[in-house]
């Protein structure tokens, strides 16, 4: 309908949004396929994946004669990811360089179109790491505008709220913390970094790790641009660029795609437990001024989740002029019922009698979702390897009961910078490999308050894996954390990979979710539109499948296609085949909000999320 152009005409840009809606409407998104329909057919699976990471370009005749040489540049340090960890590392490096009057080229690449656009979090920030990094943050205008004034914790039943006293010493005490819009905080960090001379390149995604001949990490390459949806090169095709560095820091956030490759390459996970995750969905609302209580922090557990599904809600009242609240729902991805839809649990929670009145008369102004780590200290991998190291939520330093990971992510970035700096500025760096190995980073992390904090809370999350579920976990927390401060001599294990926890659909009951009312709860598509997410349409889908026939043959047949329910952006849909009987998986890659849940929870571990063309993805504003 529209000629091949990156954008369409002025009035038609509204049509693009309508087109997106039409595309998804035809499959009636609120009615999911049930097992009653014949799940597979004798027709061969239509090809889905065209990405070059699955279908190599080496032997592809369409790529013959295309110039594949890449422009390369050298820096001292390259940082992948412009989040709290990456930016803190960059800032610390430049602070040290300026103090000691040394030249240092620090380059940071970020896949979002601007710093902060892919950042999503509650968030209650503990300012400990920030005060260490930038002691005069207040004078510099850091957007920490809302000190926590009230802290409320509840256990919800379907109609009631049971308040639970927050005794001092419990992990969720928030005194001294600030409610922040993390996207705005990250944007401010980006400005601080640029002032110090860090080269920040938003809109360019690191898509490949580069290696020296000796196997150490040489740097990264940014994404190629101008590949058509079918995998062939377009006229505007251009290769990405190589950035070489003495050390590369990987701060991709929870479940980074390059980190996934590095775990395999350097066997970083051989002595730790698999990481476990949760999905966090969030909305920002402008509410009625009368309902607004700036500085109020509310958390709840219980309804609508059953006692064996880990999760809960948050609702924070921001104090930034307009009466805004940030609210959301977190669900552990070790849930077992494939009929569970995190998005719809979130929407129905908002109708609870203790939540709905706050939202009545308000307007929803933002929506988004992101996976977060729950593994704690048991799941931290080996952090360093020749030529690079892992920082932030990528290896995973989140304090789960506190639900805070920003302060530890920032501290890990700072410690990384402090460990690297002497090595890269040394006159004669002694190194066995071309890429520098900096094991000092891991050592200093283990001696820091990050490790002490994570050690103390290590048993709280795994304590939920008992018959009493939530209640057992709360008793354990009360006894062993509040009284014993986590000093018990044992360390509980997690239950294994989140992807292995789903039970087959026939062993579970479908959940009856209420229809969205359009005032407090909403449908998926209008929510996705509010995230501002978009991608260049004519590119291979970045949700790649290792095997195109597994979704229908396994995910749909055994688990009734859980990806149609756990994706918070409506990327996955099972639609009837155009000819004959049976279903096929349709991937609406343009809707993706980069949350990584599919890569984590796919029971067949068939979905491999890779980075799309830089600049694509959500356009969060202060989420």
């Amino acid at each position: 309908m529209f000629p091949a152009s990156r954008y369409s005409a002025a009035k038609a840009h509204r049509c693009i949004r309508a087109l997106k809606t039409v595309q998804l409407e035809h499959a009636a998104p609120q009615q999911y396929t049930t097992i009653n329909r014949r799940a597979s057919s004798s027709v061969t699976t239509p090809p889905i994946t065209t990405h070059y990471t699955i279908h190599s370009r080496d032997k592809d005749p369409r790529w013959e004669g295309i110039e594949m040489e890449r422009f390369a540049d050298e820096a001292d340090v390259v940082i992948v990811g412009g989040g709290p960890a990456g930016l803190s590392a960059a800032i610390r490096l430049k602070q040290l360089a300026n103090e000691q009057e040394k030249e240092l080229r620090v380059c940071l690449v970020e896949k979002a179109s601007q710093i902060g656009a892919h950042t999503l979090s509650g968030a209650c920030l503990e300012p400990s790491a920030l005060s260490e990094l930038i002691p005069d943050w207040k004078e510099r205008g850091a957007p920490l505008n809302t000190p926590v004034t009230e802290d409320v914790f509840s256990l919800l039943t379907e109609k009631h709220r049971i308040p639970i006293p927050i005794l001092p010493g419990l992990p969720m005490v928030n005194h001294g913390n600030y409610i922040v819009r993390l996207g705005n905080f990250v944007r401010w960090l980006g400005e601080q970094a640029e002032e110090l001379g860090v080269e920040i390149y938003p809109g360019y995604a690191a898509s490949e790790v580069l290696f020296h001949e000796d196997g150490s990490v040489k740097g990264i390459a940014t994404n190629d641009v101008g590949i058509a949806k079918d995998g062939s090169p377009k006229d505007v095709f251009e290769r990405g660029m190589e950035l070489h560095a003495k050390v590369t820091l990987f701060g991709e956030g929870c479940h980074g795609h390059l980190a996934k490759q590095l775990y395999k390459q350097f066997n970083l996970r051989e002595n730790c437990e698999p990481q476990t995750y949760a999905i966090g969905l969030k909305e920002v609302w402008a509410i009625d001024k009368k309902k607004w209580r700036p500085g109020r922090v509310e958390h709840s557990v219980g309804w609508p989740l059953n006692r064996n599904t880990y999760g809960g809600s948050f609702l924070y009242h921001l104090d930034e002029g307009e009466p805004l609240v940030a609210l959301g729902f977190v669900i552990g991805l070790d849930y077992s019922n494939p009929y569970l839809s995190p998005f719809r649990e979130f929407q129905r929670w908002k109708h609870h009698p203790s939540v709905a009145p706050t939202l009545e008369g308000g307007t929803r102004i933002g929506y988004g979702a992101r996976a977060l780590n729950e593994g704690g200290i048991q799941s931290i991998p080996k952090l360093t390897f020749p030529g690079g190291l892992l920082i932030g939520c990528s290896p995973g330093f989140m304090n789960v009961p506190k639900i805070k990971g920003t302060h530890t992510a920032m501290k890990s970035g700072m410690l990384a910078a402090e460990a690297i700096f002497p090595k890269i500025t040394a006159e004669n760096p002694e190194s066995e490999t071309l890429g520098l190995h900096v094991p000092e980073y891991a050592e200093s992390l283990k001696k820091s308050w990050v490790w002490k904090e994570l050690y103390a809370v290590r048993n709280i999350r795994p304590s939920f894996h008992n018959y009493f579920g939530l209640y057992g976990g709360m008793v354990y927390t009360g006894v062993f954390y509040w009284i014993c401060r986590g000093k018990e001599p044992w360390t509980l294990k997690h239950a294994g990979l989140d992807a292995d926890q789903l039970k087959p659909a026939k062993e579970c009951t479908p959940i009856e979710y209420p229809k969205p009312d359009g005032k407090i709860s909403f449908d998926l598509l209008s929510s996705v539109a509010l995230s501002g997410t978009n991608h260049e349409g004519d590119q291979p889908a970045h949700l790649t499948l290792k095997n195109d026939s597994v979704p229908v043959e396994r995910n749909l047949a055994i688990y009734d296609g859980p990806e149609q329910r756990f994706c918070p952006a409506g990327v996955y849909e099972y639609v009837p085949l155009e000819t004959g009987d049976g279903m096929r998986l349709q991937i609406n890659a343009q809707n993706c909000v980069h949350c990584k849940t599919c890569d984590i929870k796919d029971p067949s571990q068939n979905i491999n999320w890779v980075v799309p063309e830089g600049g694509g993805g959500p356009a969060y504003n202060g989420m």
């Binding site: 954008y7 902060g116 990405g240």
Partner: protein, 254 residues
């Protein structure tokens, strides 16, 4: 003739972002919202760079009017292949009131100052949909205009422009110097790749104020109020024609 082309680019809210009106109904929320170069301006830059690559012109100068952030838009154009930039600094209330008339006065002044052969603009901006700046610039300069261009070719010192009009396509031949506005099908803009962004840092961006160009940017328009479009209400189904007539009468429509 200088062989210089002036290209105007505008920084607008990205087309995929959901717009929100400020609670005081004064304007649209722009703080922290994702912005990008107007899609038609990208096409204009691409066309100018293509002409330079074909050696039809010598230099591409890109211009943007706005606050500090407009520099990012100019850098993107420089990364696409423009040679140098001019940032016309307009901030605060002045920027909120900056409209096609003021911008065209600025473009006209710069076209004279830079001795431009061509001024290429996007046909319209996706935030205000005015579709006026190109036409006004041509009028102020008393230059011919080729608007809604879907194809351009230089023929000696004239330009042949294929224009997209309501009835189809119209081909005109105009003298230079001239003003061109780019329509969708003129070309497919190239990506601003990272090596080019790095190189663009070394290209010059001059900073000028409208007063330096002798341009008065006071607006003759005052925005009274901005509202979101009315919510679309549910339709009503009727069983018979009589029912329909009765309902229409009720609603005062007939």
């Amino acid at each position: 003739m200088s062989g210089r082309v002036l290209v105007g680019v505008k920084r607008v809210i990205d087309y995929a972002v959901k717009i929100r009106v400020k609670p005081d109904n004064s304007c649209v929320v722009t703080d922290g919202v994702k912005h990008s170069m107007n899609p038609f301006c990208e096409i204009a830059v691409e066309e100018a760079v293509k002409m330079k690559e074909k050696k039809l012109i010598k230099e591409v100068v890109v211009v943007s009017c706005g606050p500090q952030q407009a520099m990012e838009t100019i850098r993107t154009a420089l990364a696409m292949g423009a040679d140098r930039g001019i940032h016309v600094e307009v901030t605060g209330k002045d920027y909120e009131n900056l409209g096609p008339l003021q911008v065209s006065k600025i473009m006209a002044a710069l076209a004279k100052k830079e001795d431009a052969l061509l001024v290429i603009l996007g046909k319209q901006a996706i935030d205000d949909d005015c579709n006026q700046t190109g036409q006004m610039t041509a009028a102020l300069l008393d230059w011919p205009q080729g608007t809604f261009a879907s194809e351009l070719s230089m023929e000696g010192d004239k330009i042949k422009v294929v224009r997209e009009i309501d009835g189809g396509l119209e081909t005109v031949k105009i003298n230079t110097p001239a003003v061109i506005t780019a329509d969708l099908r003129l070309n497919t803009p190239r990506y601003a790749t990272l090596p080019n962004i790095m190189k663009a840092k070394k290209k010059k961006i001059a900073n000028v104020k409208p007063a330096d160009l002798g341009v008065d940017i006071t607006s003759r328009l005052e925005v009274l109020r901005v509202d979101e479009p009315a919510q679309r209400e549910a339709g009503v189904k009727v069983e018979t024609v009589d029912d329909l007539i009765a309902r229409l009468k009720e609603a005062g429509r007939i």
